[in-house]
């Protein structure tokens, strides 16, 4: 099993986050974590780009790689734009590719509203950069075979997207 990340501290948290999801039939073959900072537009997309590269190197099907990369990129931009910073965890086992984006706040008061296509709380300066179309979470869901959001105002948000390996 390969474990790696772009910062050492994140690895332990990655392991903790994944331990609950592991099943006897899906031992992880790879886990990586990527820290994402609020408003760091210069680095935004680097995690998704790396995830795409890693999945490609694992020999995954191109369409699966693309779906995972798009989901990871949307998650990463959500963290950059909307969170106070967080991380993206990539976990690959024999059955699926799982992406977990978690942050420490601010949390979403209405998850169903956030899932509505076209709804966005992004400010104008973010929209001018081409973001804030209100498609980020719906896009993630569209790319995933299973998708869930847990969010609590004041505590943070965890978005989990899994894509089956056919």
């Amino acid at each position: 099993m390969y474990r790696g990340g772009n910062d050492g501290q994140a690895i332990d948290r990655a392991g903790a986050a994944f331990s609950g999801a592991a099943s006897p039939h899906s031992e992880p073959v790879l886990e990586m974590s990527f820290r994402v900072d609020r408003y760091d537009f210069a680095a935004a997309g680097e995690a998704a780009s790396k995830i795409k590269q890693v999945l490609r190197q694992l020999g995954m099907a191109p369409e699966l790689v693309r779906r995972a990369a798009v989901a990871a990129y949307e998650a990463e931009m959500n963290l950059v734009i909307h969170s106070e910073g967080g991380q993206i965890l990539l976990r690959v086992d024999t059955e699926k590719v799982t992406l977990v984006a978690c942050d420490g706040g601010p949390g979403m008061p209405d998850v169903s509203l956030a899932m509505r296509e076209g709804y966005s709380t992004a400010p104008d300066e973010i929209r001018e950069m081409g973001f804030g179309a209100g498609m980020g979470l719906p896009n993630m869901k569209r790319c995933s075979d299973s998708f869930s959001i847990e969010s609590e105002v004041g505590r943070g948000t965890t978005v989990t997207a899994a894509i089956r390996i056919a």
Binding site: F41, A42, A44, G45, A48, S49, K52, P62, E63, R66, R67, A69, V70, A72, Y73, E74, M77, M129, G130, F131, A133, G134, M135, G136, P138, N139, R142, C143, S144, D145, I163
Partner: protein, 127 residues
């Protein structure tokens, strides 16, 4: 349609990919200034016409597997963005034409649009 023909058609300046003009073949294009729409609706190998010139447009192209970026309305990305395009191996052209005219010329020359299903999803998508 070859990229070289597209360059000619819209009078574009080549910012990245001079060496790919005669090899890259474009069958499909889309015009958008919304990154999520590009991620949601563009297929692999699509040419993107956009007024966005930030680093994120190159990231988007990389993630979505886009073939080429055309910057419209006379916009030019700064050098760091051009360098990103070079590193990613994504041809980048720039034209003074507005989005509508750029797309119209491409469409008129036989370049197709992206195919959407009835629910707005990309046709052929899984899940």
């Amino acid at each position: 349609m070859k990229l070289a023909d597209i360059r000619e058609l819209i009078g574009a300046e080549v910012l990245v990919g001079e060496d790919k003009l005669s090899t890259v073949e474009i069958e499909m294009a889309c015009g958008s200034d919304l990154i999520s729409d590009v991620l949601a609706f563009c297929h692999d190998k699509t040419l993107l016409c956009t007024g966005l010139v930030s680093a994120q447009v190159v990231r988007t192209a990389e993630i979505a597997g886009l073939s080429t970026i055309i910057f419209v309305r006379g916009k030019r990305p700064d050098e760091s963005v051009i360098e990103m395009g070079k590193a990613a191996g994504i041809p980048m052209l720039a034209t003074d034409l507005p989005m509508f005219e750029t797309c119209g010329l491409l469409y008129g020359a036989g370049v197709g649009g992206i195919c959407l299903g009835a629910d707005g999803s990309r046709r052929g998508d899984v899940g």
